[in-house]
């Protein structure tokens, strides 16, 4: 078991390394001289040369990469070109906001979607299923940022019940902080819920076809225990591996939603950095998000045997 854990953890290393290479190369793809892009065309050649040397950009690419990787490993993600603050603390600060939105949305989406998917599968091709699948396909077809805009329009502009833009930290004022989170989370939940519920439904339909379900019914079990005790663990296992993917799409969704509601999260940070061509920030954000994804996938893999005893630790 210990050996498996160790092996599975070590297997993420090549992935992490390639992620780092991709992020590094991406910013080297910039057409033209990155330094003149950063400081603008107005700077005189001597300044450009100095900055180039300072950043190590006159060295061969592999050397640059190792240098950059070494800095990353010691927690030095560089400094923002626009604000001059260190990238890592700035990112972690904003990650807090994003994490709140993502975690709340994911929990809510799971809580609603799993039972809904199971119910639809259980009543497959009957009225209930038609209604649920109809709603779900509608949910996955509306872009979260449009839902966000509509919610602003309805609750902010028309009704004036909820704040539409801005952010108050929950730690500062729990009640008001929560109010600011309601609309962003609602926009994300709606879409992600559709994806999870569809996944759960199809997994459940596959499981309900199997002999052990018929066997459980042949034993005289009522439908409740058949569904929750026999079908749920087997149908949920594939959905669990989907959480990593879900988290990814939520992080992607958060980028857009933070822009809609002007929340000071990681996504907004990245979008602003792209507008300002703030390359250290762009690199840092991409790297951080990919690392989070890889770690979540690792955690899911390690938790998988709890649901499916066939997978040996």
């Amino acid at each position: 078991m210990g050996a498996y854990l160790l092996r599975r953890c070590l297997m993420t290393l090549p992935t992490l390394l390639i992620v780092a290479v991709i992020v590094f190369l991406l910013m080297r793809l910039v057409p033209g001289d990155p330094v003149s892009v950063m400081v603008g065309d107005m700077a005189d050649p001597a300044t450009i040369a100095a900055i180039t040397r300072n950043l190590g950009l006159d060295q061969p690419l592999p050397v640059q990469f190792l240098h950059w990787l070494g800095n990353i490993l010691t927690g030095d993600f560089g400094t923002s070109i626009t604000t001059g603050e260190a990238v890592l603390p700035a990112m972690l600060h904003r990650l807090g906001v994003t994490a709140q939105i993502v975690l709340i949305s994911m929990t809510l989406a799971m809580l609603i979607a799993v039972p809904a998917g199971m119910l639809a599968a259980w009543r497959q091709n009957k009225g209930t299923d038609m209604v649920i699948t109809g709603l779900l396909v509608l949910f996955i077809s509306v872009p979260s940022f449009w839902v966000g805009l509509l919610l602003i329009l309805l609750f902010g502009v028309e009704l004036g019940w909820l704040p539409t833009v801005g952010y108050v930290a929950i730690t500062d004022d729990p009640l008001r902080g929560l109010l600011y989170l309601i609309l962003p989370c609602a926009s994300l939940v709606l879409v992600e819920m559709g994806v999870v519920a569809r996944m759960m439904r199809s997994g459940m339909i596959d499981v309900l076809r199997l002999d052990y379900i018929t066997h459980a019914r042949a034993k005289g079990l009522a439908e409740g225990p058949v569904l929750w005790r026999h079908a749920f663990p087997n149908a949920f296992a594939p959905t669990l591996t989907f959480i990593g993917l879900l988290l990814g799409s939520l992080l992607g969704g958060a980028v857009v939603i933070e822009t809609v509601f002007t929340l000071p999260g990681l996504g907004r940070f990245l979008v602003d950095a792209i507008e300002a061509r703030d390359y250290p920030v762009i690199q840092g954000c991409l790297l951080l998000v990919a690392m989070i994804r890889i770690l979540v996938n690792l955690a899911v893999d390690l938790a998988y045997p709890l649901l499916d005893p066939r997978v040996q630790l």
Binding site: L10, D211, H215, H230
Partner: protein, 574 residues
């Protein structure tokens, strides 16, 4: 007849959106403790009948008419809640596939105890005691420990024993078993059937056994119902209904059963063999775990010697895991050869260049087991059959494809069809045509009839024999079915865990099986043999064992020792 336990009256089942019936008016009655077998080929509706009793028809299937009386109660009238009191407690049910009928996510103990807790409300300790007792009755080693394990930790035969034990745990009045041993090897099948019959007898449980295997029914049941295309064909006591059949379909079924035909062919002439294999070893590389170490390869064949004459049929027989399929695949380069020498027509394959080897390889063709997977679903039949022809004109290709198709008894009309439009037997004919169009010297036939119904199986076996007579190729015939082997083989090799344990001419081997494993294999098959005008059911009588020194049931080690006339058996080295 005494009061009946189960009586079905005019049961009709159809599928949604179709007028056609899949079960067309079945009547049957079972007395308490009685054992009734329902036999039929695929599409006979026997499984639907079994599932309809407990109201567990698959989605889409509907009961159109009929009553199902159990203990005087019409099960079709009951509310779902009342029906659940009958399910499990009064009627137990067992399915075919032991690999999917136990829930992989729950422990054995939980799945066994579930019914007891639900229907009898026993305490945890009492549930455990009863479960252990039942597993003991099914000879599960260390029953108490089994309860805490998960299904994947058991073999197929053990899982099926657990399944049946769990169904009998509530001492039901009726056990419905749908092909309970079809997925099992023959020795395990016998063990499972014996244990089930004994347990049913002890508990006074009646048995409704659904199967395609006439031998199993004759062996286990008192009465039989034969079904075909949803119709009841005949019904009554096994003798005479099955053993002295009067209706034509049942007679056809029985005459289709594979059995020895004709006399043994002359022993192979001393001409140089077509195929000769020396010390062939095969090992599958283990899956790599992680990035770092690769565990040692898993050996599947441990040094096989074999020679095959032109026009001869050599059968490889053995249970799953014996390596018989691997041997066939290794010949065709489909399995990793770890050592040994293979020569075709005296040429050592290893010494040839790649193009020469490929040319030689075309002289060895293969017919696969599963006709549903061996034909590309997107290709038309003509293209499939002609796939191996290279460097021929379109006209010649068409002529040869048509000739090959007519050789296997398929007319012109088939050339433009797709595989999914064909029946299993027709597909297998296409696969045979694809092999013979290459004018091979040797055809490796890997379980070519085991996916087919018994009447179709008989047709394909006689086609294979007929083609051999006309074209003169040799067969390496791989099968787990002793009856089939006895019908087609000139010589037989018995494999067990990658070793040859016994080989010899067909009659020698079947009349004087010597190795304990061969004897066990033969004794396990429930057979129906011709007897005067009718048939006789039972197990094959074995001759007295030969007192040979070193003839131990242990298969490891030992050498093949010659008995007489090419009959060899594995003994401990002298």
């Amino acid at each position: 007849m005494t009061r009946s336990l189960l009586s079905i009256e005019d049961l009709r089942i159809g599928f949604a959106g179709s007028e056609r019936l899949a079960v067309k008016g079945i009547d049957l009655a079972m007395a308490p403790g009685e054992r009734l077998g329902v036999v039929g080929e695929s599409g006979s509706g026997k499984t639907l009948l079994a599932r309809a009793i407990l109201g567990l028809l698959p989605p889409g299937a509907q009961r159109r008419a009929g009553r199902i009386l159990f203990d005087g109660q019409d099960l079709t009238d009951l509310s779902p809640a009342t029906l659940r009191h009958v399910r499990g407690r009064r009627i137990g049910m067992v399915f075919q596939e032991p690999m999917v009928s136990l829930n992989p996510a729950l422990t054995i103990g939980r799945q066994l105890g579930e019914g007891l807790i639900l229907h009898e409300g026993l305490s945890a300790a009492e549930v455990r005691r009863r479960s252990v007792e039942m597993l003991d009755a099914f000879r599960m080693v260390d029953a108490a420990n089994c309860l805490d394990k998960y299904p994947h930790e058991f073999s197929g035969g053990m899982r099926q024993r657990i399944m049946i034990a769990s169904a009998l745990l509530l001492r039901p009045a009726l056990l419905i078993a749908d092909e309970p041993t079809t997925a099992l090897d023959v020795i395990v099948q016998k063990q499972v059937l014996d244990l089930t019959l004994a347990a049913c007898r002890d508990l006074g449980t009646a048995l409704l056994l659904i199967t395609h295997d006439l031998g199993v029914v004759a062996d286990c049941c008192e009465r039989v119902l034969v079904m075909r295309h949803g119709d009841p064909v005949t019904q009554g006591p096994v003798d005479p209904v099955l053993l002295r059949p009067s209706d034509p379909y049942t007679r056809q079924l029985l005459h289709s059963l594979p059995r020895r035909q004709g006399v043994e062919t002359a022993p192979a002439a001393p001409a140089p063999p077509l195929l000769s294999i020396k010390d062939l070893r095969v090992a599958y590389p283990a899956r790599r775990r992680g990035l770092f170490r690769r565990p040692p390869a898993r050996p599947v064949l441990h040094g096989i010697d074999l020679s095959l004459a032109r026009g001869e049929t050599l059968a490889l027989v053995g249970e799953s895991g014996s390596g018989k399929t691997t041997l066939g695949r290794a010949l065709l380069g489909l399995a990793p050869v770890a050592g040994g020498r293979v020569s075709l027509d005296g040429q050592d394959i290893a010494t040839l260049s790649a193009p020469e080897r490929r040319a030689l390889a075309r002289r060895v063709q293969m017919v696969f087991q599963d006709p549903f997977s061996s034909l590309d679903p997107r290709w038309r039949i003509a293209r499939i059959v002609g796939e191996g022809l290279t460097g021929v004109t379109a006209a010649e290709r068409a002529t040869r494809v048509a000739a090959a198709l007519s050789d296997v008894g398929l007319g012109d009309g088939f050339a433009d069809r797709f595989p999914h439009e064909l029946s299993g037997g027709q597909r297998q004919r296409v696969a045979i045509a694809r092999a013979i169009i290459m004018k091979p010297d040797l055809i490796v036939a890997d379980e070519p009839v085991s996916a087919l119904d018994v009447t179709v199986q008989a047709q394909i076996l006689s086609l294979l024999k007929d083609l051999q007579r006309r074209h003169g190729f040799s067969y390496l015939f791989i099968s787990h079915h002793l009856g089939v082997v006895e019908q087609v083989a000139d010589r037989v090799m018995v494999l067990y865990r990658g070793h040859v344990v016994e080989e010899g001419a067909r009659d020698d081997l079947f009349d004087r099986p010597t190795h304990p494993y061969t004897r066990r294999l033969m004794a396990a098959v429930p057979e129906i043999l011709p007897d005067g005008d009718g048939f006789r059911a039972g197990h094959r009588p074995l001759p007295a064992p030969v007192p040979l020194p070193g003839l131990t049931p242990v298969e490891q080690g030992g050498v093949l020792t010659l008995l007489q006339g090419g009959h060899r058996v594995r003994c401990a080295a002298p």
